[in-house]
């Protein structure tokens, strides 16, 4: 009897309170409406930046889901490595539901020809693998799009392995550029494209804020899926390579994150570079993390927009 009463009591507690009518909440809600309704010229151009991070990077899908649901304006997208794959699909106009499906079905072999046999040839015959499937995926989902055909402007980053330069792609065919951006060094053959030998951009530009700025971003929201390399204990050649790339990525991102206007960092640091079984978990962590930070992101963009919005609010009288 009493347990039923208790259950009823617990259920009787209102979970979601009535709308928050505090000055802060109402002013935020009012201004967010103004920002969303404003012409693009009346607010900063928003760039979504998706970091490298191999399979951890599928957490970006969760972040994008939250931003989309909230109607967060995204004017352009830049990505590196897995960030380039997710970013290109999103900027290319693929429905988020489909991107979620693709990411959920991610296997270690999704973007490459990684298999037991190919690993043996990698280790014993020094024969690097091909990342051809990444390009195929992009072409298959987006229909051989070029950069100038995406719904939102998009850029991605790769590295020229001969010169060490960071190469920002923002024109030409989408698929080879995204493939180059996701071309893990030491495992995949460098991709020869536009007279360069390209490998994963995460080696030089982990959080491609510069690429977003090049596209015209004035306010950047970066989704960062950095590894927590302190938890890993490498036991194989691949593990050791992953560890070195993660450490390098952490150093790079430490400097780059300061350049972002807003950061969302899904806690996926413990997910391994090729840990495909945890793809859905990574995406869900992206959702949870972005949901927690959404209000702060809105506030940040509102505050950045006020000086421009104020021009419209003031009317012609004020400037006289």
């Amino acid at each position: 009897m009493i347990q039923d009463l208790l259950l009823l009591l617990a259920l009787a507690v209102p979970a979601a309170a009535a709308p928050d009518l505090s000055a802060d909440a109402l002013l935020r809600d009012h201004l967010w409406r103004e920002v969303r309704a404003a012409e693009p010229s009346r607010r900063p151009k928003v760039g979504l930046v998706l970091s490298a991070g191999s399979l951890r990077g599928v957490a970006h899908v969760g972040v994008i889901k939250v931003l989309e649901n909230a109607g967060f304006p995204v004017d352009l997208v830049a990505g590196t490595s897995m960030g380039a794959v997710i970013g290109s699909l999103y900027a290319g106009g693929l429905p988020l539901k489909r991107i979620w499906q693709i990411a959920s079905a991610t296997r270690v072999t999704s973007g490459n020809d990684l298999s037991g046999r190919s690993l043996i040839s990698l280790l014993f015959f020094d024969k690097l693998l091909s990342s051809e499937n990444t390009g195929k995926l992009i072409d298959q989902e987006l229909g051989s799009k070029r950069f100038d055909q995406t719904k939102k402007p998009f850029a991605c980053v790769a590295m020229d392995v001969y010169t060490g330069e960071s190469i920002i792609f923002r024109d030409g065919d989408l698929a080879p550029a995204v493939r180059a951006s996701m071309n893990l060094p030491g495992i995949f053959q460098p991709l020869e494209y536009r007279h360069r030998y390209l490998v994963d951009g995460g080696v030089v530009d982990y959080i491609p804020i510069d690429a977003a700025r090049l596209l015209g971003a004035e306010w950047t929201l970066a989704s960062v899926t950095e590894a927590d390399y302190t938890v890993a204990r490498p036991k194989s050649v691949l593990d050791a390579l992953e560890q070195v790339i993660d450490i390098r990525g952490a150093y790079l991102s430490r400097e780059q994150r300061a350049n972002a206007d807003f950061l969302i960092e899904p806690p996926v640091g413990d997910i391994g570079m090729l840990d495909a079984k945890r793809a859905t978990e990574a995406m869900e962590k992206g959702v949870v993390s972005a949901s927690k930070r959404l209000q702060a992101a809105e506030e940040s963009l509102i505050l950045a927009s006020i000086p421009r919005l104020a021009g419209a609010w003031a009317g012609p009288e004020a400037a006289r």
Partner: protein, 324 residues
């Protein structure tokens, strides 16, 4: 024939849901019944005194399961949630398929804000009792708090099959739908809530928010008026002032803002409305004054303070332009 019926009944009982015993009344065994009666008589201290370790050791099966439920429930009544949680945990480790213990442990974790830990327990309870409305309602709240309004809506839909007379659940469901951008269904849900509690000012305020999202600005303001008539406080009037400003009715907005300020002097949102009116009328100096007042009265690091400071800087620029 008799034997066959008996076998069928035994099979039915064995295959039934975890709480099938409830169909036949309270726990069958005599040992736990006196403790159960103490609990029903709301004597939590006596229940705990009765459930000694020695007594617990003599219990088996349903009795033991019920003993953990009683101990946890009464510890909760005595506001000892940590001990209640460990009791339920122990109970769940012994009876991992018991829905009562699973939902209680999950409920305590949920109340403590540990939603990520509570969620798998509620999901496990649903494996054994798929239509458990309490678990669905709690999961709806959890999914919403974690950022999955689509999943929350699905759970509310199941919970509302049983809780259809609960205005607060309809309201929560409406909020979830609103966050999904489905203002049409949200409106239907809030109407169901209002049918149950027609004079609730909170429900009227939420309806106003839904109407605003649906694009019915005038309807939203009218709904706020209804809420104000039901005794909604300065918050509803503050919303009205801002929404009138959105509609371009600056004078009406300023008049509402003055009423808010009469109730809550220094209110940052109301001062913002006044400042916007001054800016639009070409009085940046007055806007700076209002925003300075807003910044001075807002809490440190609050959004209102930062917004007022940002607009004040721009208003100052405009003021200097005018003075040149």
């Amino acid at each position: 024939m008799k034997r066959a019926s008996l076998c069928a009944l035994t099979l039915l009982l064995a295959a039934g849901p975890a709480r099938a015993w409830r169909l036949w009344g309270e726990p069958s065994d005599r040992k736990i019944r006196p403790v159960q009666e103490l609990s029903d008589a709301r004597k939590p201290a006596e229940v705990l005194a009765a459930l000694t370790p020695q007594f617990m050791q003599t219990l088996r099966g349903t009795d033991l399961r019920q003993a953990y439920v009683l101990m946890g429930d009464n510890l909760t009544i005595l506001r000892r949630p940590d001990q209640a949680l460990s009791t339920y945990q122990l109970g769940v480790s012994l009876f991992p398929k018991n829905v009562d213990l699973l939902t209680r442990q999950a409920g305590l974790l949920h109340d403590a804000g540990l939603n990520e830990q509570a969620k798998p327990l509620f999901l496990k309870a649903l494996q054994f009792e798929p239509q458990h409305f309490g678990a669905h309602k709690a999961l709806a709240e959890i999914e919403m708090s974690l950022g999955f309004p689509d999943r929350a809506a699905e759970h509310y839909e199941i919970a509302l099959e049983v809780l259809e007379k609960r205005a607060d659940v309809w309201r929560d469901y409406a909020e979830v739908l609103l966050s999904l951008g489905d203002s049409k269904t949200a409106l239907l849900a809030i109407e169901r809530a209002l049918a149950l509690e027609p004079s609730s000012k909170d429900l009227l305020v939420l309806k106003a928010f839904i109407l605003r999202v649906a694009g019915d600005h005038a309807g939203a303001v009218n709904c706020l008026d209804l809420a104000l008539a039901q005794g909604a406080g300065a918050g509803a009037r503050r919303a009205k002032a801002l929404w009138l400003l959105e509609a371009g009715r600056r004078e009406d907005a300023a008049s509402e803002a003055e009423k808010v300020l009469a109730e809550a002097p220094g209110d940052a949102a109301a001062l913002w409305v006044l400042a916007r009116g001054h800016l639009a009328a070409g009085r940046p100096g007055k806007a700076v004054e209002a925003l300075t007042l807003a910044a001075g009265s807002a809490k440190r690091d609050s959004f209102s303070l930062r917004a007022a400071t940002a607009l004040r800087a721009k208003a100052r620029e405009l003021q200097e332009l005018r003075l040149r």
